[in-house]
Symmetry: C2
Subunit: 93 residues, 2 copies
């Protein structure tokens, strides 16, 4: 196999994994939208620092077990949470 | 079910989806690390703007089909790609 063929094969895997990521992320947003509505209706605070701290710790451990850089996992979670919090604030307007 | 019980149920779903995201992301990084080595060994450029443009277009469409904000999908991909490019640059040092 030429290096270009190997590269194309890897890219096929990346494209499949990205499709999986998008679909799981879509389901995650479906749930966090329901959480946003629930929080707004019941006057719960839009963010929950204790919950977020536990999520970070859990995901860093899961990442380490999967041989993924735990700092990357934490940055990714913070990126996703900041998007979700923006959506929650918009849902309250 | 009380609002707090509903919230806890949603959070259980989010935690399951996050574990799936971490594992798929770990596999994606495993593949992009192999791509990084292949590119470094064969003196391919670390980034490929044409490939990235096609990835963005494809993922925006997949996101739209999954009812996920395509702008979020694009931001997410850019976030992941920028991490990968940093790793590729480090692999060359």
């Amino acid at each position: 196999m030429t290096p270009q063929e190997k590269l194309n094969q890897h890219r096929g895997s990346i494209d499949n994994l990205d499709a999986a990521l998008i679909n799981i992320m879509a389901e995650r947003f479906r749930v966090t939208k329901a959480v946003g509505v629930l929080k707004a209706e019941n006057d719960f605070p839009p963010s929950d620092p204790d919950r977020e701290k536990r999520q970070v710790e859990r995901l860093r451990k899961l990442a380490t077990d999967a041989n993924l850089d735990p700092d990357f996992a934490e940055k990714l979670l913070n990126f996703v949470i900041s998007e979700v919090i923006q959506h929650h604030k918009q849902a309250r307007k």
